[in-house]
């Protein structure tokens, strides 16, 4: 063997003895912690510089090629290259494996638990009644109605007389109106807004009036002395009960879905004639009265939910607002928001609505 070849062999042996402790890295790596791996990685990098860089022995050895006899030069050159390649491959294989290993360990170490809660302040909640009121207001505004509200403490005129409930009328004598010591009434229905709004706006008019009303009921599961109503009023030339039915049906469909059916039932209210109660097919059982083979709860198995009162505005009410009942006609309707909420959410005690218990409030969004 020529001296040159020997020299090359020596370079290889020197490399292999130094690389020996890295050799296992070329195969699969295991049982190594991150710190050791990183140390190895650094040392390997040093080794690489030493054995593959421009100033490495193998790089220097290339100069020997010139010294070899011309006829052997080709073979020797190849030999040097083979050795150099072996060295480079050994280091790079180990390097790649180690790098991947470190990356994997790091990824594993930084793996997060995506099921931990997102970081955000606790959200507050609008009151159930506000949520439902806004939903209903939106529907009516899109139907061309204006939202109105007015006083909560009223004179007897607005609470009764103008609504065709004259003195001596049973509804007026009833024990359920709150009075102030000055003789004013806490409005017992939002129908008072009908009068105020017609006085202010004149006709034609289309309004809905959500608001608080008061009745002297001792609180129990289904009664509170204060609750909320939404009153609707539409007065124009040529308004009929068909418009009443169509309007009620339309907003109930928008609230409870396209398949909702509405019916009117004859009833009695002093401020409307003809009068009707309006019911709609139960949103839960779809009007069958049966839900999951049990008697449906919201409609008590009847398939119908009785929601509120309605009718054609009584001519005396129109006259009280200076509207000629021979020229104009109109419909009005009203219903209780608490009752609606308790139906929709199967709430069995409406007193909860005014206790402001956060455990209750935070259930609604």
């Amino acid at each position: 063997m020529s001296d040159e070849r020997k020299q090359i062999e020596q370079i290889r042996e020197a490399f292999e003895s130094e690389f020996g402790r890295f050799a296992h890295l070329r195969a699969e790596i295991g049982g190594l912690n991150l710190a050791d791996a990183e140390t190895l990685s650094r040392e390997l990098a040093e080794l690489k510089t030493k054995h593959t860089g421009k100033k490495s022995e193998i790089a220097n050895a290339k100069k020997l090629i010139g010294r070899v006899a011309a006829e052997e030069r080709g073979a020797f050159g190849q030999f040097v290259q083979t050795i150099e390649k072996q060295i480079v491959t050994s280091i790079e294989d180990a390097e790649t494996n180690l790098k991947n290993f470190i990356a994997e360990v790091k990824t594993e170490r930084e793996r997060i638990d995506v099921t931990l809660p997102g970081r955000r302040p606790r959200a507050g909640h609008l009151h159930l009644l506000t949520l439902l009121r806004q939903q209903i207001e939106d529907i009516f505004v899109s139907l061309g109605y204006a939202i109105e509200d007015d006083r909560e403490i009223e004179t007897d005129y607005y609470n009764f007389d103008a609504l065709n409930i004259p003195e001596g009328h049973p509804a007026r004598e009833s024990q359920d109106t709150f009075y102030t010591t000055d003789g004013f009434a806490l409005r017992s229905q939002t129908s008072t807004v009908q009068i105020r709004a017609m006085e202010r706006r004149g006709v034609p008019i289309r309004i809905i009036a959500p608001g608080r009303v008061f009745r002297r009921d001792t609180p129990d599961m289904t009664h509170t002395p204060m609750f909320h109503q939404i009153e609707g009023l539409c007065v124009d030339k040529g308004i009929t009960m068909a418009h009443l039915k169509g309007t009620v049906a339309e907003w109930l469909r928008r609230l409870f879905g396209e398949e909702t059916v509405t019916r009117l039932r004859p009833s009695y209210f002093p401020f409307t004639e003809p009068s009707a109660e309006f019911d709609f097919s139960c949103f839960k059982c779809g009007g069958t009265g049966v839900f999951e083979s049990e008697r449906c709860r919201p409609c008590k198995g009847s398939g119908w939910i009785e929601l509120g009162g309605s009718g054609m505005v009584h001519p005396n009410v129109l006259r009280a607002c200076g509207v000629d009942p021979n020229v104009y006609s109109g419909f009005a309707f009203g219903f209780g928001l608490e009752r609606m909420c308790s139906l929709m959410y199967e709430l069995d005690d409406i007193r909860l609505m005014f206790e402001n218990d956060v455990r209750f409030l935070e259930q609604f969004k």
Partner: protein
């Protein structure tokens, strides 16, 4: 109201099954709430509206079925004919107060044997929920349920002078009624008396002493008509509501009295061995039926309901319901008519009433569904959107929306400093008080939202919810300072915080709330309604802790208060943690002119910032420092911002260090260090001069 199916079938020709009948009655406005089987019968539970007392009997419901089904009644029309014996004495009945008793009939029945009722009668009464007492009492009850006319039977021999005087009770008169309760009568009440004393509270309940017993042999049967309002008043005053008063105060059929009396007499003769004797009918105030003019009933029905019903069908329905055309109005080819309402319908007075009758029998279900032609665009209330934003902002900040009762008790009186310019402090009665309220806690209308929110805090603390943020928007009330004026109503916003800031779905809280959480929330809320900025001025407030309270101002006007709840009130509520509350006049805020937003050119040159820590007495506020600096009027100084505050270790007790950031910028050139050095030094010198606040390094 219980109605027996079999009983109805005795009165009207019909093949309807109980279920069909229930459905048809409900459709016509007599809501059948339930059908119960009773022996071989079915009983309808009918929920009647207050305008239909005529249906408080089987006859009344039969009339409805006849109209709905175009069927015939099996019972003859009421007439004054029948077994009628002259009142020999002419002295049996005298009505002294004809305004309260419009008609009074009395029938004497002799040789009566009081005993048990036959089985069929007992069953009929049980079907409608009545208990059998004795044959005569059962018969009067039976006739009431059949024909709707309440009646009363006296033991004729127990009537002093054997006569009846119908008059107002005299002051001090008393009577022991059938329920064995002694009752005081007054001059507004109608009494049925014998020659000496009241023997019955007319139309409400008979007297105990004159009632029939097993020994009774001679019966005086009273069948009368009383003024509705009078019965209602008496019943209320005595706190005594009976089946009779229920019907009388809603109105019975004055033309039905003789038929009812005769029916009861027949039955007493048949079942209690009686012999019909004298009969007296004193008809003092003659019934005048309502006459209703209609130019074109067909048109009226269409105009109000959209239903197209032929005139013949309209007339059939009305006639079936007893509403007749006045003979004189029956002119061929003439649309204009006068209708006459029957004596049993007190609720039919105008054309619209006729329209309802036609529509409900014809069927509300035949009414079409139409939307009214569109007219104007919809609109929210002027401030509705702003309030919606405000609510949403507070909810986003973690506040739950509370809604409390509008009424409160007197516990909170004078506890709170109320929003300004609302309650007239010089009035004797400055609050709106409720008259004889029976509801616990409902004594007056709230002048502040705070008591409601504090109650809510207590409720939640009691449920171990210690970290709370609540707000409420609602009206408060105060008495007007003008005589006979409606009370003042005003919409306020209030909020309350206590405990710690919490994160969604995280058990551990972040940090304890303080004044600045409340202030920040209020400022965010105001930003959300795009109102002008709030100012906060330290001020002692009755319900707030000294040194941690402020007035809230907008446009120079005070609109509310904010701060930490005082120890006294906290103790009263048993709060053991700091509570921060604010209340402002939302109405005043929303009526404040919204600031114009104008574009300002973006800065071209970079700014320079200097952070400075100033050591000052605690009494010197950030606002003082800011104002003092800004008032020096240097054009290059663009902004003074708060950075941090430090107090405690290393500082005197009465001192604190405030760090602020001053931002300098020129609109003409890039500033260099030297250009601001002098201004900055001057600003600090002046601030020290003005406020004693010196720079701390």
């Amino acid at each position: 109201m219980n109605i027996s199916y079999r009983w109805l079938k005795d009165l009207v020709e019909t093949d309807l099954s109980p279920q069909e009948m229930a459905r048809k009655l409900t459709r016509a406005g007599l809501a059948v709430e339930g059908i119960h089987e009773f022996a071989d019968d079915f009983v309808f539970d009918i929920d009647l509206t207050s305008n239909r007392p005529d249906c408080l009997s089987h006859l009344g419901v039969s009339r409805e079925i006849a109209a709905i089904q175009n069927a015939k009644l099996k019972i003859k029309k009421a007439s004054d004919e029948g077994q009628r014996t002259k009142d020999e004495s002419q002295n049996l009945v005298a009505i002294q107060d004809e305004d309260l008793c419009h008609r009074f009939t009395a029938r004497i029945i002799r040789n009566v044997k009081i005993g048990a009722s036959p089985e069929w009668l007992v069953k009929r009464l049980e079907a409608v929920g009545e208990r059998s007492i004795n044959n005569v009492a059962d018969i009067t009850n039976y006739v009431m349920h059949e024909l709707g006319q309440p009646m009363h039977s006296f033991d004729f021999n127990k009537l002093s002078g054997n006569r009846i005087v119908v008059r107002r009770a005299r002051a001090g008169e008393t009577i022991t009624t059938l329920d064995e309760v002694e009752r005081k009568l007054d001059e507004t009440m109608l009494a049925i008396c014998d020659a000496e004393k009241p023997v019955s509270v007319g139309g409400v309940m008979g007297g105990f002493d004159s009632g029939i017993t097993e020994e009774t042999t001679e019966v005086l049967l009273e069948v009368a008509y009383f003024k509705r309002e009078s019965i209602r008043q008496t019943s209320r005053k005595l706190g005594l509501a009976t089946e009779a008063s229920y019907r009388f105060e809603r109105g019975v059929d004055i033309e039905n009295l003789i038929r009812a009396s005769n029916r009861a007499t027949e039955l007493i003769c048949e079942l209690a061995n009686g012999e019909a004797g004298e009969f007296v009918d004193v008809y003092a105030t003659k019934f005048v039926p309502n006459k209703i003019e209609s130019n074109d009933i067909e048109f009226a029905v269409k105009r109000l309901t959209g239903l197209e019903v032929e005139e013949a069908e309209i007339l059939r329905i009305l006639n079936a319901l007893g509403i007749t055309e006045k003979d004189s109005s029956k002119v061929e080819n003439q649309k204009s008519k006068i209708f006459v309402s029957p004596s049993w319908r007190h609720d039919i007075a105008i054309e619209e009433d006729l329209v309802e009758e036609v529509a409900r029998i014809y069927g509300y279900d035949k009414i079409a569904e139409e939307l009214p032609p569109t007219s104007a665009a919809g609109e929210y209330q002027p401030n509705e959107m702003r309030k919606m934003n405000l609510r949403k902002t507070l909810a986003d900040l973690g506040f739950d929306e509370a809604i409390s009762y509008s009424f409160i008790d007197t516990r909170s009186d004078d506890r709170f400093t109320l929003v300004p310019n609302f309650v007239h402090e010089n009035l004797d009665r400055k609050y709106v008080e409720l008259r004889d309220s029976i509801i616990e806690g409902a004594v007056r209308m709230r002048p502040s939202l705070l008591s409601g929110l504090l109650d809510a805090v207590r409720t939640n603390l009691n449920h171990q919810r210690r970290d709370l943020k609540l707000f409420e928007i609602g009206k408060v009330f105060s008495a007007s300072n003008k005589e006979n004026d409606l009370p003042n109503e005003r919409e306020l916003l209030a909020l309350v915080l206590t405990g710690n800031e919490t994160f969604q779905n995280k058990a551990l809280t972040v940090r304890e709330f303080d004044f600045y959480d409340a202030k920040g929330a209020l400022e965010s809320a105001v930003d959300a309604v795009n109102a002008v900025s709030l100012e906060f001025v330290a001020k002692d407030v009755k319900h707030l802790r000294k040194g941690q309270s402020a007035e809230v101002l907008v446009g120079g006007k005070t609109i509310g208060t904010i701060g930490r709840l005082s120890d006294e009130i906290s103790a009263a509520y048993k709060f053991r943690q700091p509570v921060y509350i604010a209340e402002i006049d939302l109405q005043a805020l929303l009526t404040e002119k919204q600031p114009d937003v104008l574009y300002r050119p973006l800065p071209v040159y970079p700014s320079m910032q200097r952070d400075v820590s100033l050591l000052a007495k605690r009494g010197v506020s950030f606002a003082d420092i800011k104002k003092s600096i800004e008032n020096q009027g240097f054009e290059l100084l663009k902004r003074v911002e708060f950075v941090d505050v430090y107090e405690g270790k290393g500082l005197a007790d009465d001192e604190r260090s405030i760090t602020i950031r001053l931002e300098y910028r020129s609109d003409e050139r890039t500033l260099i260090e030297e250009q601001i050095e002098e201004i900055h030094a001057q600003i600090l010198r002046k601030t020290e001069e003005n406020l004693g606040a010196r720079q701390r390094f």
